[in-house]
Symmetry: C2
Subunit: 140 residues, 2 copies
């Protein structure tokens, strides 16, 4: 199925987020976050960073760290709830995998992050062909 | 600051979710999830459950398990993005702590879950008095 124009724009914003992260580009990261007062960011294992100042402070520290691992976004899925765009995707960091919930709102005509929540996965995500049968078997 | 009526209603829906979870009440859990086709649920460490059938199947398995631990919701914070309500809260399971992103949409006049993402915290959440100074120090 062809993505809609809205999906293309939302997924492009999500891709720009992971590009800024991988390239340790704090200015690009700053442009990608909304100026809404209640933005929040939950890095893996952290308590939430609340508000733009705390969120950007966390990114400044992460992106300034030369040891911070390269990250790749895998299989992003976009959905819309009214004016909100939600992207769920896997994050690959070397051989570890995380899962992310990324919430975007429109600000000045562009999708901007208002909420990011990433957490570890217990195992590598299944290949797409396996995924359909995977979820219902997790507790068996 | 007094919560608004919207915040009271949203936090009541969030509390009902954790009550259904703690009491292993699958019927209540079912009533709390939206019928929107794209609902998703990310249990800690799991790949996402996508769509209502998979989401409810996961809850049926979790709530049927007599060994499933009791859960408590701690310090929920509500924000609104247009017609979407977002609650971020800590989850306490015995002596372990998680952090959750819960996204609600209005359906037939009530807040219903469209997205739940829970993941482990590396440490217990700080007491409220400590929280204001905590986030900026996480990477030091």
């Amino acid at each position: 199925m062809q993505p809609t124009a809205d999906e293309v724009a939302l997924l492009a914003a999500n891709a720009a987020f992971y590009r800024a992260f991988a390239e340790r580009d704090l200015r690009a990261m700053d442009r990608l976050w909304a100026h809404a007062p209640e933005v929040a960011c939950i890095h893996p294992g952290w308590i939430p960073c609340n508000g733009r100042r705390e969120v950007m402070q966390s990114w400044a520290e992460i992106l300034a760290n030369p040891e911070s691992p390269r990250i790749r976004c895998i299989r992003p899925q976009a959905v819309f709830y009214g004016p909100i765009g939600l992207v769920v995707c896997f994050e690959a960091i070397e051989r570890n995998y995380l899962i992310a919930t990324n919430l975007f709102a429109m600000e000045e005509g562009a999708w901007k992050l208002v909420h990011h929540h990433a957490g570890a996965l217990a195992a590598a995500p299944p290949e797409p062909a396996e995924a359909a049968n995977e979820a219902s078997g997790r507790l068996h």
